[in-house]
């Protein structure tokens, strides 16, 4: 699989490079192979979306990158290279900012917003407390928080949901990270607020030259934010390429069927037969083959290698050029 990446035209070294990553967790039900051979790259200043349905391994991938894998998780193979350094072995501090999913759960209600944000900066950024305060106020201006001078002294309940998410974006940017990782940052927000937050996040990371890794299950949000996308299915990458190409011309049967389920696209709503396999009972070969309408005998035997296709995308299906039966696409 590393061969597949070696021939990619990488003018600049990647900001984040995930190589053949596997994460296994021992559970009561047996060994859960949550991630298995995941590879992708994010160039400096680039934006990559990770999409997939529940149980595909999005959160575990995120935790591996942030260095907060749960106890009992093992990494039997692979690397997560951040600026060339394997952060699974030597964690970096303060270089990766994180924006959590739920702005309501992510702030402690009994402490002032400022104290919570300053604590992170005290641990990870240089400079005095006064410098940190000035930095936060200027960030509050950048994220368009009302009354930025007073925001430090307010409690979380004094902000609306959209304002809390702005606060958390400021927190993620506070230590000037090179990479910002966002976990579905707008799912808890209304559509009109969502659009503002997405535009803000995209603008701020772009002007500061930060990379953005954006986890989402919403293809609409993905189109609005990410240049590239990696589609995960059952712990493996199905499709990886420029967002526009993947959305306009999806190649992996899973991605094709998933996009056919989108209400903006479906001609008839069909869904995908079957369910995502449990992580403790992954089928052999291609993990999608039990649900795939064009599966052949080989699909249940060999793990498909990611194939480069003409536009630089990679697809983990040797039969990606075959048409799907009409009924599968609605």
């Amino acid at each position: 699989m590393s061969d597949m990446l070696a021939d990619s035209p990488e003018a600049a070294p990647s900001l984040l490079s995930v190589r053949d990553l596997a994460v296994h967790i021992r559970t009561d039900g047996g060994l859960a192979r949550i991630l298995d051979g995941v590879s992708f790259d994010l160039p400096p200043g680039g934006t990559l979306g990770i999409v997939g349905e529940s149980g595909c391994g999005k959160s575990t991938l995120l935790r591996a990158i942030l260095g907060i894998l749960p106890k009992g998780a093992r990494v039997p193979q692979g690397q997560v290279l951040f600026q060339g350094q394997d952060i699974l072995r030597a964690p970096v501090r303060g270089r990766i900012g994180f924006i959590p999913q739920d702005p309501y759960l992510s702030l402690n209600p009994v402490f002032r917003a400022g104290d919570q944000l300053l604590e992170g900066m005290r641990r990870h950024a240089s400079g005095s407390r006064d410098e940190h305060r000035r930095k936060l106020v200027s960030l509050f201006q950048a994220v368009q928080l009302p009354e930025p001078e007073n925001a430090l002294d307010k409690y979380p309940h004094q902000f609306s949901g959209g304002q809390r998410q702005r606060l958390l974006i400021a927190a993620a940017l506070a230590c000037d990270p090179d990479l910002v990782v966002a976990d579905e940052p707008t799912t808890a927000l209304d559509v009109t607020t969502q659009l503002e937050i997405l535009a803000l996040l995209r603008g701020l990371t772009a002007e500061r030259g930060m990379g953005l890794l954006f986890v989402t299950h919403d293809f609409g949000v993905l189109s609005a934010v990410c240049e590239d996308v990696a589609v995960l299915y059952a712990g493996r990458v199905a499709d990886w390429g420029p967002t526009g190409n993947v959305l306009a011309d999806p190649r992996h049967p899973y991605t094709r069927m998933l996009l056919a389920c989108h209400p903006d696209r479906a001609t008839d709503l069909v869904g995908i037969p079957g369910t995502v396999p449990a992580a403790t009972a992954q089928p052999p070969g291609c993990r999608f083959h039990p649900r795939c309408p064009i599966a052949r005998p080989v699909c249940s035997q060999a793990v498909p290698e990611p194939l480069r296709i003409f536009d630089g995308s990679r697809v983990a299906c040797p039969f990606h050029a075959d048409p799907l039966p009409e009924v599968a696409l609605g």
């Binding site: 659009l195 299950h217 389920c261 995908i272």
Partner: protein, 321 residues
């Protein structure tokens, strides 16, 4: 098509206290809503959080008592009753909870949960109940053996099907679906939407479809009402609303919805919706409206007809063409 349920000038006040010495005014979560749902159609209600969607649903259901206005079910006046009485009158109206997992008792096998509804409605014969439960589980695409499982043993999609089975047993005419696809994966969502359509045709149901997902609403609804701060600001047949939205709020909402393959557009709307405790004067949308002028702050717009079945509450809807 015959009208199944209708509301006229419905007002719902929440949190009001009438003490001996002092009165505390509540907030008007629903403020003068009129709507009419025809039998067999899917009527969508969209709007941001706090706009009164769920309060409207609870009031139509009879769980929340209205403070003003009237509700008619199949032509008969059903408003003005106490909540307990209202529920008895409105047995034909049923509600599917937003979070089906939370709506199921974790200590009860789902079969027992399903039987409870039948018992409350007066089906005491066990054999009959078992037959009807098996039949309805098959209708929602589940194996009747699933009745022996506990809620945590089911997937999100299966829980949602159980939520549907539970109310279909009661043979409703109007089903209120509160965010029926929230939190579902795309492939499961497609299957649930298809099931909803099949069930509507098979059982002759009418849906009140509450959602904030405009892509889904566009796909499944016949009519759409857009709510803002307790009012319906625009209502039209779905195709017309999406093709020719007239209210600036509807336009902003449609522009803000992320669409497949579309680049992010410029945010059209600033700020969050104001609180129900401080409703702006005149048109409630005017502080956020790009078309607002002096008349909008002073005068509340009345309902105006754009075309047959298309109403809008805006002084400047002609400019929003």
């Amino acid at each position: 098509m015959a009208e199944l349920i209708a509301a006229r000038d419905l007002v719902v006040e929440l949190g009001a206290e009438r003490g001996l010495l002092k009165r505390r005014a509540g907030v008007r979560a629903v403020d003068g809503v009129s709507l009419s749902v025809a039998a067999g159609e899917t009527f969508g209600v969209v709007g941001e959080s706090g706009c009164g969607k769920t309060t409207l649903a609870r009031t139509l259901l009879g769980l929340q008592r209205e403070s003003g206005g009237e509700i008619r079910l199949e032509g008969a006046l059903v408003s003005g009753a106490s909540p307990a009485q209202a529920r008895r009158q409105r047995a034909a109206v049923q509600y599917v909870h937003q979070d089906p997992g939370a709506a199921l008792d974790p200590w009860w096998r789902v079969g027992a949960t399903l039987a409870e509804g039948l018992r409350i409605q007066g089906t005491t014969d066990r054999a009959e109940a078992t037959v009807r439960i098996a039949e309805i589980l098959r209708a929602v695409g589940l194996d009747p053996a699933l009745g022996d499982r506990y809620p945590h043993e089911l997937s999100g999609g299966q829980q949602r099907r159980i939520g549907l089975a539970r109310i279909l047993l009661l043979r409703p005419k109007l089903v209120i679906l509160d965010e029926p696809t929230a939190g579902l994966d795309l492939s499961v969502q497609a299957a649930v939407l298809r099931l909803l359509r099949d069930l509507r045709d098979r059982f002759g149901l009418t849906y009140l479809f509450i959602s904030h997902d405009l892509s889904v609403v566009r796909r499944v609804c016949d009519q759409v009402a857009v709510m803002y701060l307790g009012r319906i600001v625009e209502q039209a047949p779905t195709a017309e609303l999406f093709a020719q939205p007239r209210h600036p709020y509807t336009r902003a909402l449609l522009a803000a919805a992320p669409r497949l393959g579309a680049q992010a557009s410029v945010p059209g709307l600033r700020g969050d919706p104001p609180s129900l405790r401080a409703i702006p004067s005149g048109c409630r949308f005017h502080p956020r409206c790009p078309l607002a002028d002096a008349i909008c702050a002073a005068e509340e717009p009345t309902k105006q007809s754009v075309a047959a079945g298309h109403d809008v509450c805006c002084h400047h809807w002609r400019d929003a063409a």
